[in-house]
Symmetry: C2
């Protein structure tokens, strides 16, 4: 069975407005903080970027291991954190697990941080 079907995508489900538009609710803040926590690690950011910048925004663990001076189990752990945050989905094909970026999740985080023109004009 494809692991991607079991993935929870909390960031996409978050309906928070840009944080400069109105104060975040505690629930939205918890959901977003959890996604930012997944991004709060240099190795995870590089892994995510390595996958996101490839054809189809997809890669096998074997593809992304190059250039990282850490063990494959550690890489797999970091990829799992990104998957659990809803930033990647994974799918097993034969003996390899492939990871694909969830563009809507990154877009959601990007939108939340966006400073819109006219933001912060009301108290």
């Amino acid at each position: 069975m494809s692991k991607s079907k079991l993935t929870i995508t909390p960031v996409q489900a978050c309906s928070a407005a840009p944080l400069a538009r109105q104060p975040l609710s505690p629930g939205d803040a918890a959901q977003l903080a959890s996604a930012f926590k997944a991004l709060a690690d240099p190795v995870r950011l590089r892994l995510l970027s390595s996958i996101a910048s490839r054809t189809g925004q997809e890669a096998c663990v074997c593809d992304v291991s190059d250039g990282f001076d850490i063990s494959q189990p550690t890489i797999s752990h970091h990829l799992k954190v990104l998957r659990e945050a809803g930033l990647l989905i994974s799918e097993r094909r034969a003996s390899w697990v492939y990871y694909r970026v969830v563009p809507e999740a990154l877009q959601r985080l990007s939108d939340v941080l966006l400073i819109e023109s006219g933001a912060g004009v009301s108290a």
Copy 2:
């Protein structure tokens, strides 16, 4: 002396391209991870949003304490973390410290997460 003059703004100084355009360098990844770490806390996100959504994107500690069931020293600690990450600047006026959002820093992080059309089409 204004504390804002002493603030380091690492995020703004980061010249990383959107992570879906090209793999992040280790240096850029470290800088960005540090900023995302500051956002990886629900209270800090709510404080940042509370300030960002106000007139002038500025607030005194006394203004933002309402609605948080935590002590003022804890709030001040969280604001300091956001300041050290370059997301806020602070300035003392009389006996109060005022915090103002650094819109360029949030914009920087938003841009890095942006999924551009045509991203990920080359290996």
